[in-house]
Symmetry: C2
Subunit: 219 residues, 2 copies
């Protein structure tokens, strides 16, 4: 139970998911990979990631509802539901810490360790979905990745402990409340923290009302 707030500071696996009309990878003069409609994934593995992070990211990529259904209802179907393609490209620069204006990549998994891990993630996607619909870039090569972002629709995924999951936030809030009980009373600051956590979890859990930003909102 060392979860909670500190965990939010640990590095997580990151995936930038772009819904595409088409996407391709060129190395030098040669186009080595291409897809039609589907998802282009830029995937960044941190030095702290485990198989659990990979499981989460693979599950979310393949099940994320970013496509419309047959009646044109947005945010209803996944890439698997629609039997569309996935182009996945390794992207260590997502594990970036800024030092002033200079990116620092020490929190990225080293290339030596990242390559087999990245390949196993691709294999996992092929196993869960269809091998012929999962395409790849060329690990560590200098690539031109052509992405025709459709919408645009772009979503950042972060593996389990990331702060973007409503359930996770609700869980954190409960842990926070339990911890508060064990702490000394009269600490105004931690009381305010608790309030901030609660209002955040509530706003995430709410639905309807602001029609403009509902799940049905189009890009």
């Amino acid at each position: 139970m060392n979860a909670g707030k500190a965990e939010l500071l640990t590095a997580t696996m990151k995936a930038i998911v772009q819904r595409v009309t088409k996407a391709s990878v060129t190395v030098g003069e040669e186009q080595i990979s291409s897809i039609g409609r589907g998802l282009c994934i830029l995937l960044g593995i941190s030095a702290e990631d485990t198989q659990k992070d990979a499981d989460y990211i693979v599950r979310k990529i393949l099940n994320l509802r970013v496509f419309e259904d047959e009646n044109g209802r947005a945010w209803s179907r996944s890439v698997m539901d629609k039997e569309l393609e996935v182009l996945c490209v390794s992207q260590f620069t997502l594990q970036c810490i800024l030092k002033g204006n200079k990116p620092d990549f020490h929190s990225a998994l080293t290339a030596e360790l990242a390559q087999p891990f990245y390949n196993s993630i691709l294999e996992q996607m092929r196993t869960v979905y269809k091998p012929e619909l999962i395409k790849d870039g060329q690990f560590a090569a200098y690539m031109q990745v052509n992405i025709q972002n459709d919408g645009p629709v772009t979503i950042c995924l972060e593996s389990p402990s990331g702060p973007t999951d409503a359930k996770q936030l609700a869980k954190l809030e409960k842990q926070q409340q339990r911890k508060e009980k064990t702490r000394s009373k009269g600490n105004l600051e931690s009381g305010r923290e608790k309030g901030a956590l609660r209002s955040k979890a509530e706003s995430n859990a709410s639905s309807g009302a602001e029609g403009d930003v509902s799940s049905e909102r189009e890009p």
Copy 2:
């Protein structure tokens, strides 16, 4: 001083920065915007963002060192240093909370409020840099955004309180330490949190050593 850990849970302005060889926006049959070498920015404004968030994001976009210098040294020059172009496209889907596999966008700023804020951010970039080098999409339109990601090089920016800034992490650690002093002793769990915060801040502050993931690493 309501900063600290709770703040990490609040929504922040997000920008996906892709280094590009070229990028363009098409609406219907018409190409409405295009750039050559430079940066393509997908920008998501949260309901909690203020001018302070905008200031941070504009500063980081324009000064981020993602280009090489005249001697080919990577991560040395900004888009302004190289006098390259910026294509910025509004992207509310970056403010996404997952409810299972369904994206929820209630934490995004409503379109009505986001449009003037977004336009002011573009104006700010034009003022700081050169107006003719900052291009735009078409707010709230259905667009095809064609991005030729060069490398690829992709960086996620989050406005000040985001967990990706080394200085911010060091500051949080100090705040954390001060708070610990005011709390009841013997709370093992918060002691562990403190340790986690410290080790994270240290690992971010480290330099050299793992040559493979140093700032000089190429995509």
